[in-house]
Structures are given as C-alpha cells and as structure tokens.
C-alpha cells in the first residue's frame, strides 16, 4: 500500500475495554534505587527501620540531578534487592514490607489556599525537586528542568492524548480526577504567569468531554480550557500536541519554551497537584495488563512499587499457546520488551502488553514510499535505511536521523515488513560516532 499511516489498526483482542479494578495492596513494595536515568544512590535508612508514606529514604543520583527516593507505603525497610526496571535494566530496589497502615510521614504537610496562592515559580520548582516529580508520559525526565528557563510562558499544554492505540491509563485518570488536574494546571499557570492552560485529549473520548465541561463550569475566568485534538497517531507526541492545541509549530531542535509554551503530561500535573496541595507523592497509577498473552486482561489501580508479577497473577497468568511471549511495557508502537517479568511498577509504568510471538518476514524494500509519507518528522526512513546498509556515514548524517522520535510509524507502514525504525535507530548511533 502506498499511503500515509495515520491510524494504527490493532487486532481485536487488544481492544477489549476493561473495567477498573483496585489491585490488592502488595505485601512487599519495591522502590527504585537506581533506575533508567540514575545509576547510583545513597541511603538514609537501615534495615529494619520503620518508614511511612512520604518519607525520604535516600537520594538517587542522575547525570545532572538528584532526586529523593520517597516511600509510597508504610512498613519496614528490609534491604536492597535486584529486580528489573521497566526499561529492561537490572536495578537496585529498596524492599519494604507493607504494614497496611498507610501512615503519612510528618514531612507531608497540607498547604492552605493562601499558602498555595503565595507560591512563586521557584517554590514550585523546589517542590518538584523535593517530591522527585518526573515526566509521567514515559520520559521519566525530571519535571523541574522545564521550569528552569527564562522564557516567558503564555500557554501550558496538558497532554492527555495518549495516542498509542489500546492505552487507557491517562484517560482513566482524567475521568477520575478532573478537578485535581484543573487545580494542578492553575497552580502551575500562576507560578509561571501563563494566561492559558489547555487540557488536551482526543476528540473521540466523549466521556472526557462531558466530564471536563462540567468540571470546568464556573472556571471561565481562569484561562483553563479543555481542548480536543485529532485521533491520529502520534498526536501525543509533544510537538504534534502543541501544534493541535495552539497552532504553534515547534521546529526540530528547539524547546517549546522558546515559543512560550510548556507541555506536561496529565499524570505529571496530577502528581504536581498532590505535591503542592497535600505534600504527598503520587501513590497510585492505573495499569493495564493486556494483550493476547494473558488469560484475563485487566485494568488495575496499582500502588507504585508493586511487582508486575502480582498483577499478572491476578489476571490468571499467561495463556498457554505454546508460543513465546513479548512482554511489552508501553503501547504496541513505542513500548519496549523486557526479557523477564520480574519488573516493578515504577511511576511511569501504565501498561504491560503481553503479545504472543508473531514474527514478520521481511521482503526486499519495494520503495513504495509509505515510510516517507508516514514519518511525522518528515524524514526519509527508506533512504536512511539504505545509507545505513551501505555504511555511508556522511549520507546517514545528511539525512538527519537525530530528528526521529521513534514513533515506529515507518516500520508499521512498511509494505515489505522491514523494521525501518530499527535502521533509523542504528543511523542515530552511527551519526553520533
């Protein structure tokens, strides 16, 4: 087919929409010491110590930042264990035995409306640092960094687009907590002096539209609005979302802030709300366990730090198809596979997609051009792939593989089932050498 791919068609088994279930609180909770971004950490607790929700147990050390390790449960600290982070890296986790009391630490203090009203941009920035807020859209990038610049911000775009097919965590969050999200946006707008706050979601979600129109009633003067965006993939990509919400086109290599726009994921805003209003960390996330590889796909409200195996067990385990399973964290387009299910739900885990093995046999490229038509960053993936095959570094560089956002559309659209995206990833590495 010679056509741009804009919608991702999924096999029917992946689309079953599930009712939310509250996962039973886990006996043991695991908090990441090291993680995808941070390679080392220091600890302030000893084995056997009693910890409470919101307690700071240590410091994670990233390449240019530090963030506290904050407990999401109360109980006894038992020591360090090795498990997998959802990126597939083996990391150190702090094991805490849950006492099921959910006691709050004295560090968590509620702020009154007056206190909140007096918060400056630097205060908010410090709260973000103290509460270890990270981009929950999947980047896990520390949130405060976006606030650091000196640019004048006029609009805050709240990304609730979740464009990958079959994902529903942000959708659920928006349905359950519209007021908290709106408050969070207002706090942030005030802190940075933005006039507008646009909460974006796909227009096909009619339930969200009605939820937000009633939640926003009476908020007319606040500048917060609900904004419907297209149902194309990848609408949730920062640049596409900003374009749809504000009409501003952020050029590759530039920051949205240079255009007066800040973009945050809805879940990040929700965690910001909790941090500012109650001084608590984000405790729960909505996690989907789905795909044709699990017996009963389910949708859970999960305490952060729960082992994913517990959730899979609640779904009745893996199907017995005799095929190997792909354990995918994230959606079918951008999710990454891990080689074992010994993974802990970190704040950015919202979906485990278990798919039966289904190898794609690649034919030679027929130069149909679908990959070129589909690329949201206007690259020419087929030419990048052939430059990579030819090992021509100068050519690879001239095709700007670094602009690729790894959306996966080029491979999805490929008539010959070539994983073009993988070639572009290789090109990125070659260009960096």
């Amino acid at each position: 087919m010679i056509a741009k791919a804009r919608h991702i068609e999924l096999p029917a088994v992946l689309l079953s929409h599930q009712e939310l279930e509250e996962a039973p609180l886990p006996l043991f909770v695991f908090l990441a010491g090291t993680n995808g971004r941070c390679a080392s950490y220091t600890l302030d607790v000893k084995e056997g110590d009693h910890v409470k929700i919101g307690d700071k147990l240590g410091m994670r050390k990233g390449p240019f930042f530090e963030q506290p390790i904050i407990s999401t449960v109360s109980g006894t600290y038992l020591g360090i264990e090795k498990h997998l982070h959802h990126t597939g890296k083996t990391c150190d986790f702090l094991k805490i035995q849950n006492d099921f009391q959910d006691e709050l630490s004295s560090l968590c203090h509620e702020r009154s409306e007056e206190e909140i009203a007096s918060l400056t941009k630097d205060d908010v920035l410090n709260i973000m640092k103290d509460m270890a807020l990270v981009g929950l859209g999947g980047s896990s990038f520390p949130s405060y960094v976006k606030l650091q610049g000196e640019h004048d911000i006029h609009t805050i775009v709240i990304n609730g687009v979740e464009c990958e097919p079959s994902l529903a965590s942000d959708h659920r969050l928006m349905l359950e907590h519209p007021h908290e999200i709106i408050e969070g946006v207002k706090y942030l707008m005030k802190a940075v002096g933005a006039k507008e706050g646009k909460i974006c979601a796909k227009w096909i979600y009619k339930d969200l539209e009605s939820t937000f129109s009633s939640a926003l009633a009476g908020e007319e003067g606040s500048g917060v609005s609900y904004c419907q965006v297209y149902n194309f993939y990848p609408q949730g990509w920062e640049v596409a979302c900003i374009k749809s919400a504000t009409g501003i086109e952020v050029e590759s290599g530039h920051l949205p802030a240079e255009y007066g726009v800040l973009e945050y994921n809805v879940a990040t805003i929700y965690s910001l709300y909790l941090a500012i209003r109650y001084g608590t960390p984000l405790l729960e996330r909505y996690v989907q366990i789905h795909g044709d590889g699990v017996v009963n796909p389910k949708f859970f409200k999960v305490r952060i730090g729960t082992p994913i195996q517990d959730l899979v067990a609640l779904c009745g385990g893996y199907t017995d198809s005799g095929k190997k399973k792909r354990l995918i964290f994230g959606g079918p387009m951008m999710g990454n596979t891990v080689n074992s299910d010994d993974v802990i739900c970190s704040p950015t885990v919202t979906s485990l997609l278990v798919l039966d093995e289904a190898p794609y046999k690649a034919d030679p490229c027929v130069r149909c051009g679908s990959c070129v038509y589909s690329c949201p960053t206007h690259l020419m993936p087929v030419l990048i792939a052939s430059a990579v095959k030819a090992g021509d570094k100068a050519k690879v560089k001239s095709l700007h593989p670094e602009r690729c956002v790894e959306c996966g559309l080029c491979a999805y659209a490929c008539t010959s089932h070539i994983n073009v995206t993988e070639f572009v990833r290789r090109a990125k590495r070659i260009a960096k050498l």
């Binding site: 087919m1 010679i2 791919a5 068609e9 999924l10 096999p11 006996l27 597939g88 195996q309 517990d310 899979v312 067990a313 385990g317 893996y318 017995d320 190997k324 399973k325 792909r326 354990l327 995918i328 079918p332 387009m333 951008m334 596979t337 891990v338 080689n339 299910d341 997609l353 278990v354 798919l355 093995e357 794609y360 046999k361 034919d363 030679p364 490229c365 027929v366 130069r367 149909c368 051009g369 070129v372 038509y373 690329c375 206007h378 020419m380 030419l383 430059a387 001239s398 095709l399 996966g408 491979a411 999805y412 490929c414 008539t415 010959s416 089932h417 994983n419 995206t421 993988e422 990833r425």
Partner: protein, 382 residues
Amino acid sequence: MSEMNPVRSLQEPSPHVRRRDSASIMMLDVILALLPLLIFSFIIYRLDALKVFGISIPTMLLAEWVFVMIKGKMPYDGMKHSFQEKFLYAIKSYTPLNALAPLVSALIYGMCLPASTSWYGVFIGALCGIVFAKLVFGGTGHNIFNPAAVGMLITRLSFSSSMTYSPIYWTEGTSPIIDITTGGTVLSGISSGGYSSIADISLLDLFLGKTQGAMGEVCKVLILVGLLYLLLRQAIDWRITFTYIGTFTALMAIASIAIASSGLVDNFNAWHFIGFEFLSGGMLFGATFMLTDPVTSPVTKPGRYMYALIAGCLTVIIRLFSSSPEGVGYSILLANLLTPALDYPKWASSRWTWKKALLVGGIIFAVILVLLLGIYYGGKIS
C-alpha cells in the same frame, strides 16, 4: 506468591504491530488490475495471446528462479554440505514475492507487444528484460529500470520487421480502421502520414479498443477499470499517474493550439487531435502500470511529481518530434534513469522546497518553449 506458569519471553525492537499489507498483496493487486486486459487479449487474439504470454511468463519466472537459486547460497559455516542440503536451502529463500514480481513484469511486458510478435522475439525480450533490467542489479527492489519496458523496447527495436500489427479479429469483415499497408500502429500512421491520415479515426473506437496496437494497450476502457482498482487499493501512487496524464494532456493541448494557430495543417480539429493523442498508443497503459512501478520511481512526494512531470514532457516531445511514433517506453526508461538522482539524499526532501518549485517551473517553461519553437519552425507535423 504467584503460582503462574513461567513465561518464555522474546525481545524485539518496537514497533510490535504492522499494517495489514504486504509487497505480495501489492503485486496481486496489479495482477488483478491486469486481469480484464488479459481476458480481452485472449478473446481478441486467441492463440497469439497464448503464444506471447505462454512464453513471457515462464521465461521470466524461470529466470528469477534460477537467480534465487544462485543467490540463495548457504552462508559459509566451515562445514561441508551435500548438494541436496544446499538445494533445499536455496529453495527456502524463494518467497511468494519471487514468483509474483516476475509474473507482473511478464504480464505487463506481454501486454506491450503486438500479438504478431514472433515467439523468439517474445522470448529474447523477456529474458533480456528481466536479466539486464532487474537481476543483474540484485533482484526485486534493486532495479533501476522497469524490466517490462526494457524487454518491450528490445523486442520492438530488434524484431519490428516481424510485427505486422494485423487488424484485430473483431473488425474482420469491416474495413480496417486505418490503412494498414504501412504495417504500423495508429500512431505510426500519424508519424508517417501526418494529421490527415488520422483525421477520421473515431475516438470511440479507440476508447473501446477497436484498433490495432499492442495487445494490452488498445482497450482504454479496461485500462481505466484497472486504474480505478489500483487507485482504490492504493497499490499505485495517484500522484504519478495523474501528474503524468495531466502533463501529457496539457502539453498536447498547447501543441494543438499552436498547430491550429500556425495554420500549417488544413482542416485541423484541435479537440480531435488531443483526444486522439490521449487515446492512442501506450500512454494510459504506461501511466497506469509501468511508470507507477514503485521500485523504479522516487520515494518522496516532490520526487514523484517531478518524475512524472519529466516523463510526461518526454513522451510529448518524442511523440511529436521524433521518427519513433511511440514515446512512452523511452520516456519511462529515461525517467527511471532520473530516479536515483531525484532520490539522492543530498537533494531529496519529503516536502517541497523553493529550489524544487523553481526547478519544476523551469522545466515546464523550457518544454513549452521547445514545443512552440518545434511546431512553428520545425514543421515536422504537417
């Protein structure tokens, strides 16, 4: 705590889903689109059609098969393998696409030939077409030239004496549409006899295929059916087809106005001239099945527009000014030749740039200039 069956995991890079589509499906679509034309040629040309396709298809299929057997060598692993093992290994590397791609080429190639082509002409063209245009470049996906177009030109050039373009069977009993003593197509009529020789050819007959010419090229209505199917299935890029047809028609319109205003030709009917050029020869067939072959066309949108534009200009120029009546084959091959340049990483871009727009404007301007000068001063068309 979990009593689960352990999971056997498999790692793979994202994305984890693919569009429901494949190169083989694309080839099958082309074959389906050719089917009405194939049936038409069998009804009209009967045994002659059997001869042409009965030779072209096995030749191309076999050539590709031999190629796969040679190319599908076992990688060296330090062990000795029996002939049987090697053979089985090579067989395994033969995919459906290895059968469908040459089948498509063979069908298109056959359609481009007149029914009277001698059997050895068909054979040699088919063999040279697939071997020299495709296999020496490394097989499907690596070729620069369209194998069918190369094969057709080789046959038409080397064996033209064996082609008589006999009047087709269904007009037997009625008078042949044009005087066929020249033994050419309708287009060779205009080339040798001038406009007056085509002035009373019915456009409707051309449209329905009541004329002489290559087997698949004559029946325009069935080509349009195939075109419609391919467009609906998105198996070809409409940009190429429509740009080519549009360029061709616009330039022919300009030419006909120029001819009419120059007063060089008596009783010149501009509408009839445009319609005649549109409906004769292999223009529509080439625009539908040959120029659009994705392998030999550029991969970007601007590249495709330019590619089709250039092919259209070349077709018009060759038709009007050269001694060869039919410009489609040549112009397709020349445009194929430009594809690597249009896709050259330094110049190619997935969006229009000012430079490209200027280049296109320049080409259009130059071609129109050539047309007008040629018609007013060349006097080839009389």
